[in-house]
C-alpha cells in the first residue's frame, strides 16, 4: 500500500511535466511577423488564443509538477528515515 502511494506520488509530477511539455510542443504555429498585412486584429487574436492557452496550461502544470515533485521527494526522504527517530516525543 505504502509503495503504491509512493509510486503514485512520484508519477503525478512527472506526468504533469510531460503533459506541460507536450502542450507546448503541440501548440499551433504563431502568426507571421507581418500579420497586419494579411489579417485583422480579431483574426490575429483568434489565431493566438490557443497558443496563449497552451502556455498558460503548461505554466500551471509545471508549477504543480515542481511543487508536488518536491513534496514527493520530501515524503520519500521522510519514510526513509530510521524508525528510531520516531521514538522521540513530538
Amino acid at each position: 500500500m505504502k509503495k503504491a502511494v509512493a509510486q503514485f506520488a512520484t508519477l503525478v509530477p512527472i506526468a504533469l511535466l510531460v503533459w506541460a511539455l507536450y502542450g507546448l510542443y503541440a501548440a499551433p504555429a504563431e502568426p507571421p511577423r507581418d500579420w497586419r498585412l494579411h489579417m485583422t486584429q480579431e483574426q490575429h487574436d483568434l489565431m493566438v488564443a490557443p497558443i496563449d492557452h497552451a502556455f498558460r496550461v503548461a505554466a500551471y502544470s509545471v508549477t504543480w509538477a515542481i511543487q508536488l515533485g518536491y513534496l514527493a521527494w520530501l515524503g520519500l526522504k521522510w519514510s526513509a528515515q530510521k524508525p528510531l527517530a520516531g521514538q522521540e516525543s513530538r
Binding site: A49, I51, V62, T63, Y70, A85
Partner: protein, 231 residues
C-alpha cells in the same frame, strides 16, 4: 491534537488554492496581453513567497550564529529554519524562473532579459543552491557554521545586485510588470490578492513539513551521536 490541527490547516490551504484558481480562471481578460497574463496569479505570489522564505533563511542563519555558543539547542532550531527556508524558497524560486519566461515569451516576445528583477531572482536562486551544496559537502560540526555564514553573505549580496541592475547602462532591459498593484484594476486585484493569500498559506504548509523533517533529522543525528558515545 497537533496532527488534527495540521490536517485542518492543510485542508484549508488546498481549499484556498482551489478557490483562488476559480477566481483566476474567471478573471476578466481585458488586460493588454491577452489570456497569458493569468500567469501573474501564481508567478508573483510565488516570487513573494520565495523572497520571504529566503529572508527567513537568512534570519535563521543569523540566529544560529548568535545563539550557538550560549544555547546550542535553540541555535539548532534556528538552523532548522535556515535550511527549510532555503530549500522551500528555492522551490518557489524555480517556479518563478520557469513560469516567468513562459509568460514573457507570450507577452513580450522574449524569453529572458537581464534587468533588475530577473537577474536578482536568478542570482538568489544560484546563491541558495550553493548554500544547499555547502551543507551537503561540508563535513562535521562546522557545516552549520559555514553554511550560516554563507547564508549571511548571500543575503547582503541581493540588495547590491538589485541596485546594480537598476543603473541605466548599456543594456536597458524592458520594464517587467509584476508589481502592478498600484495600477491594477479592481477586478484583477481581487483574484490576485486571493491567490497571494492561497500561495502564502500553501508555502507555509510546505515550510512546516520541511521543518518537521529537519527536526526529525536533527533528533536522529543526536541519537546516533549519543549511541556512538555510549557504545
Amino acid at each position: 491534537m497537533k496532527k488534527i490541527l495540521f490536517g485542518l490547516y492543510a485542508a484549508f490551504s488546498i481549499a484556498l488554492l482551489v478557490w483562488a484558481f476559480e477566481l483566476a480562471v474567471n478573471a476578466p481578460a481585458e488586460m493588454m496581453q491577452g489570456d497569458a497574463y493569468r500567469i501573474i496569479f501564481y508567478h508573483v505570489p510565488s516570487a513573494t513567497v520565495a523572497f520571504t522564505f529566503f529572508a527567513i533563511s537568512m534570519a535563521g542563519s543569523i540566529g544560529f550564529l548568535v545563539l550557538r555558543e550560549k544555547s546550542p539547542v535553540k541555535a539548532l532550531a534556528w538552523d532548522g529554519w535556515a535550511v527549510s527556508g532555503a530549500e522551500v524558497g528555492i522551490i518557489f524560486c524555480t517556479v518563478v524562473l520557469v513560469t516567468g519566461p513562459l509568460w514573457g515569451y507570450r507577452a513580450w516576445g522574449i524569453w529572458w532579459a537581464w534587468d533588475a528583477r530577473l537577474t536578482t531572482t536568478l542570482l538568489l536562486w544560484l546563491i541558495y543552491v550553493s548554500y544547499l551544496l555547502t551543507r551537503r559537502f561540508a563535513a562535521g560540526p562546522q557545516m552549520r557554521t559555514s553554511s550560516a555564514v554563507l547564508g549571511i553573505f548571500g543575503g547582503i549580496g541581493v540588495p547590491i545586485v538589485y541596485i546594480a541592475n537598476r543603473i541605466p547602462g548599456q543594456h536597458p532591459g524592458p520594464v517587467f510588470g509584476g508589481d502592478r498593484s498600484s495600477g491594477m484594476a479592481p477586478e484583477i486585484l481581487r483574484p490576485f490578492l486571493w491567490n497571494m493569500a492561497a500561495w502564502l498559506f500553501w508555502g507555509i504548509l510546505v515550510l512546516i513539513l520541511r521543518h518537521q523533517y529537519e527536526l526529525k533529522q536533527q533528533a536522529a543525528a543526536a541519537l546516533e551521536a549519543e549511541q556512538s558515545l555510549n557504545a
